[in-house]
């Protein structure tokens, strides 16, 4: 099978097989874990090939670009597929330990696989309309995963999530239609060639802003993020973690892809706007988190705040800043998923996430406390963990561009993130348990099953931190390919631009 199609076809195939064996939990679990492991292998293979040979492209159905549907992978796309696969593996393992048997009966694992299919498709597609379709596949799977189980908070969160994402899809669709009307193509490589030559700059800026609004809702940037903290804390922990790690980052990926290759931000009307959005996203997110007193609600607001950092790198639009953004995504997906997984263990043990009612975890389960501390300190940006290098790159890039206000807010937000993380640490792990012996009995085997994926992701965080040099070099290469997409264009269209 072609390496480019595999990350999309494998989950589809396995989801179908899992659906055929709906009655057997073991069959579904084996398929989900095995499939996710296979995806990790395939995605690393893809990354190495893209690293060696440059951008790859596949014309689906042998229709030549720009007429057919194109799959294409440059370094950014390949990196994102690796990240989604690693997250998928951790979630699949965790779900086996979580034992949500009632949900498993109604297609939990096939939905997770289909979600991965949509996410990978979004990262690998080379066509704007195909991106829309992949978004919808991913959203549809996430809608059902969010509502599966039908608890009251889930349904309420689901209403907001579905409504706003539906709205953003309508905007995306309208923008894609207008873009086709203005330029006459939706193939990304073809667009990258034709948009700079197009005469109607004002119309294209307007279309770009429409895309910004559509992806901004999905990426949860200021002021479009309200659906996120209202819904992410309601589903089971594994689903929260999957959403927290991947979904908003697909929106960020689309923003980065569109505003580097198609609508370059440099000296455009959109660039100052993007800077404001980045700063306000960081600040409102972290202030929202400071006001929360529930484990997952705090973490949900931190997603918003972290999205601001990624947008900051995009808004500065220097090679270093873009590389910083990409490195930030690499670090963030792993760390954020991990924090949600830890909150899930706490939730399964105590049946609540209210910080007031929790405590004493450092005494009862010291290893879990340390496993929380690794991603938490990484999120706050303490060296030598991955978050430190991500923030360092962004701050240095901001200082070189003399964007003082943006850098100042990034540093202040970083400090407040540390405050939030120490708040959770103090309340959940450090202080004495307000209700001793409230812990639900949990078999050691199940507990280990829940903790192993956390160990895996924590190890990845530490590894990114200690190999920050090579990792950052990879991010720099990926940013270089975005700033100068000629290799991508040649791979897709077959001719030099």
């Amino acid at each position: 099978m072609n390496l480019l199609a595999a990350p999309i076809v494998i989950p589809l195939l396995l989801a179908t097989l899992a659906l055929l064996g709906m009655r057997s939990h073991r069959w579904q679990q084996a398929l989900a874990v095995g499939g996710a492991a296979l995806l990790v292998l395939v995605s690393f293979r893809l990354l190495f090939r893209v690293r060696e040979e440059g951008a790859l492209a596949l014309q689906v159905g042998n229709w030549p670009a720009p007429f057919g549907i194109t799959l294409a992978a440059d370094l950014l796309g390949a990196i994102m597929v690796v990240l989604s696969s690693v997250t998928g593996l951790a979630i699949a393992l965790y779900s086996v330990g979580a034992r949500e048997t009632a949900r498993e009966r109604f297609g939990y694992y096939p939905l997770v696989l289909l979600l991965l299919m949509g996410v990978n498709g979004a990262f690998l597609t080379g066509d704007v309309f195909n991106l829309y379709v992949c978004f919808e596949v991913m959203l549809m799977a996430s809608f059902v995963l969010l509502a599966l189980g039908g608890e009251k908070p889930q349904i309420e969160g689901g209403v907001k999530y579905v409504a706003l994402n539906f709205f953003s899809s309508a905007l995306f669709l309208a923008a894609a239609g207008l873009l086709y009307g203005a330029v006459g193509t939706l193939n990304m490589a073809d667009l990258a060639v034709k948009i700079p030559a197009a005469e109607d700059g004002g119309l294209l800026t307007a279309i770009g802003l429409l895309f910004l609004a559509a992806f901004g809702i999905k990426a949860a940037i200021f002021p479009l993020f309200f659906w996120l903290p209202a819904s992410y804390h309601t589903p089971p922990p594994a689903v929260s973690a999957l959403f927290a790690g991947l979904l908003t980052k697909v929106g960020v990926y689309a923003l980065i892809r569109f505003f580097t290759m198609l609508f370059p931000l440099e000296a455009s009307f959109t660039q100052p706007l993007m800077m404001w959005l980045a700063a306000l996203t960081m600040i409102t997110g972290v202030l929202g988190a400071a006001a929360q007193h529930e484990f997952r609600r705090v973490l949900s607001f931190h997603i918003v705040s972290q999205i601001g950092y990624m947008i900051m790198g995009l808004a500065l639009f220097t090679p270093l800043a873009l590389a910083g953004s990409i490195f930030y995504i690499m670090h963030h997906i792993i760390v954020k998923t991990n924090l949600f997984l830890v909150s899930g263990v706490v939730h399964y043990l105590r049946g609540t996430g209210e910080l007031k009612e929790l405590g004493g975890f450092y005494r009862a389960r010291p290893w879990l406390a340390i496993l929380f501390l690794v991603p938490a300190m990484s999120l706050a940006g303490l060296p030598p963990l991955s978050g430190f290098f991500a923030k360092l790159a962004l701050v240095v890039a901001g200082l070189r561009e003399a964007a003082w206000a943006l850098v100042a807010s990034a540093l202040a937000v970083s400090l407040l993130t540390l405050y939030s993380m120490t708040k959770i640490w103090g309340e959940v792990f450090w202080k004495a348990d307000p209700t001793p012996n409230a812990e639900a009995a949990m078999e050691p085997a199940r507990y280990r099953m829940l903790v192993w994926p956390i160990v895996l992701l924590a190890a990845v965080t530490v590894a990114i931190g200690f190999s920050a040099g090579p990792m950052f070099a990879l991010a720099v290469d990926a940013a270089g390919q975005l700033a100068n997409p000629s290799a991508y264009i040649r791979a897709v269209l077959g001719t030099a631009p």
Partner: protein, 115 residues
Amino acid sequence: MELLMAIVIGFLYAAGVFLMQRRNMVKFLVGLALLSHGANLLIFTAGGFTRGSPPIIPEDADVAPILHADPLPQALILTAIVISFAVLAFALILFLRAYQTTGTDDLHDLRSTDT
């Protein structure tokens, strides 16, 4: 024709956005449906109108007529209709469940998960 379509699309968007700001769940959903119809017609219009010349190659020729209708926007719209139909069907059921579990169809009363 373009002018007429522009007015129709503008009306659909206005009506959709207006309905989405109502508190009633059903009206909200009708608003979403109108909005996606507006988006579909927008793609259709942006693709340009060509009358009476389908993109079919005549039997005695090798290429399609020079000024033929662009089939791509129509393919896009078909896909988009199917997708929005599915999403709308799911949203209807979800909102019905929301009505059954919370006992209200007023969106302002769905506040327990807000912050």
